[in-house]
C-alpha cells in the first residue's frame, strides 16, 4: 500500500506531558453514520448497510467487524435528534452489526414507544 507512514509509540508535548499512541488508535471512532428515518445512509464510514426493521427500529451492519460483541461491552454510543433518543435493543449481540431504536422520552404513563427518527451515531471499540 503506497501510503506514507510515521511510526511512533508516544506523542510528547513540550510542557503538557506525553500520550501513548495506542490511545489515539483505540480511541478513534471506528464507525460513524448519519441516516434517514428509513435507514438510508447519507454519511457513513465502515458501514455496509442500514436496515429498517420496523418503526423506530434499525440495524446497521459494519464492513470491518468489532472484536467483541455488544453484549461484551465492545461497542456503544448513540445519539438522536429532537425528542428521540436511542438505546440498545434486546438482541444486540453480533460484533458485525448494531441494532438501535428511536424512542420517545419515557413519560409518567409507561415505557417509551418506538418512533421513526433520523440517526447519527459513532461507535468506538477494538476492531477484529
Amino acid at each position: 500500500m503506497a501510503l506514507g507512514k510515521i511510526k511512533a509509540d508516544t506523542l510528547e508535548h513540550s510542557t503538557a506531558g506525553s500520550l501513548d499512541t495506542k490511545f489515539v488508535v483505540r480511541g478513534s471512532a471506528k464507525v460513524w453514520l448519519r441516516s434517514t428515518d428509513a435507514a438510508v445512509l447519507t454519511q457513513s464510514f465502515n458501514v455496509s448497510s442500514g436496515t429498517d426493521n420496523n418503526p423506530g427500529n434499525y440495524t446497521y451492519a459494519f464492513t470491518n467487524s468489532f472484536n467483541y460483541s455488544a453484549d461484551h461491552g465492545g461497542i456503544g454510543a448513540m445519539a438522536g435528534p429532537d425528542n428521540a433518543y436511542f438505546r440498545k435493543a434486546a438482541n444486540n449481540g453480533p460484533a458485525g452489526s448494531l441494532q438501535v431504536r428511536g424512542v420517545t422520552a419515557p413519560g409518567t404513563g409507561g415505557g417509551p414507544a418506538g418512533v421513526d427518527t433520523e440517526c447519527s451515531l459513532t461507535i468506538h471499540g477494538d476492531l477484529a
Binding site: M1, A38, A39, S49, N54, T63, N64, S65, P94, G96
Partner: protein
C-alpha cells in the same frame, strides 16, 4: 483509479483509502425480506461507500469470511474474535456489478435462513426492488409485507 494491492492490509485502512478516493454510490435498489411471519417486512439499504468499494474491486474480503466470523460468534463460549485476520489477509474480491454487490450484501447482512431458502414457501421471503416500488409514505409501516401475488418462480428471480 487503480486499487492498490490490498491483500494483507488491514480492512479498516482499505476503507480509509476508499473514503479518500472513491465517489459514494447511492443505490436505487432495496432488499425487502421477511425474517419472521409474525413481523413486518424489513428493508435493507446498501451503504453508498460500501457500494463504491464493491464496484471498485480489490477492497472487500470474500463474503465467506463473514460467515466464518459468524460461526465463531455463534459458539456459546464466544467472547472475542480470534480470526479477524481473515478479513485482512484473504484475497479481496474483484470488482462487482451492482447486481452482484446486492447478492453479496444479502449473503452478508441478511439472516442465512432467509436467503438460503428464499423461495421455499408460497411467496418469496426476499425480494430486490427499486426504491420507487416501496410504499410512498411510512404510514402503516408495521403492516408492510411482501405481496402475496408474487410467486416463487423464475419471473420473480429475474
Amino acid at each position: 483509479m487503480e486499487t492498490p494491492q490490498f491483500q494483507g492490509t488491514h480492512l479498516f485502512d482499505r476503507l480509509c483509502w476508499a473514503k479518500e478516493n472513491l465517489e459514494p454510490h447511492q443505490s436505487d435498489y432495496r432488499v425487502v425480506y421477511e425474517d419472521s411471519v409474525d413481523e413486518c417486512a424489513k428493508i435493507l439499504v446498501p451503504d453508498p461507500n460500501w457500494m463504491a468499494c464493491a464496484l471498485q474491486g480489490g477492497i472487500l474480503p470474500p463474503v465467506q469470511v463473514y460467515w466464518e466470523l459468524a460461526k465463531d460468534e455463534a459458539q456459546p463460549d464466544f467472547v472475542k474474535h480470534t480470526r479477524g485476520h481473515l478479513l485482512h489477509n484473504t484475497k479481496p474480491v474483484e470488482a462487482m456489478t451492482e447486481e452482484q454487490a446486492l447478492e453479496y450484501l444479502i449473503m452478508k447482512d441478511c439472516p442465512q435462513h432467509v436467503w438460503r431458502d428464499w423461495d421455499s414457501g408460497n411467496k418469496p421471503k426476499l425480494v430486490i426492488c427499486r426504491k420507487e416500488q416501496l410504499p410512498a409514505t411510512r404510514e402503516w409501516r408495521n403492516a408492510w409485507k411482501i405481496s402475496e401475488e408474487l410467486a416463487t418462480d423464475e419471473t420473480v428471480a429475474a
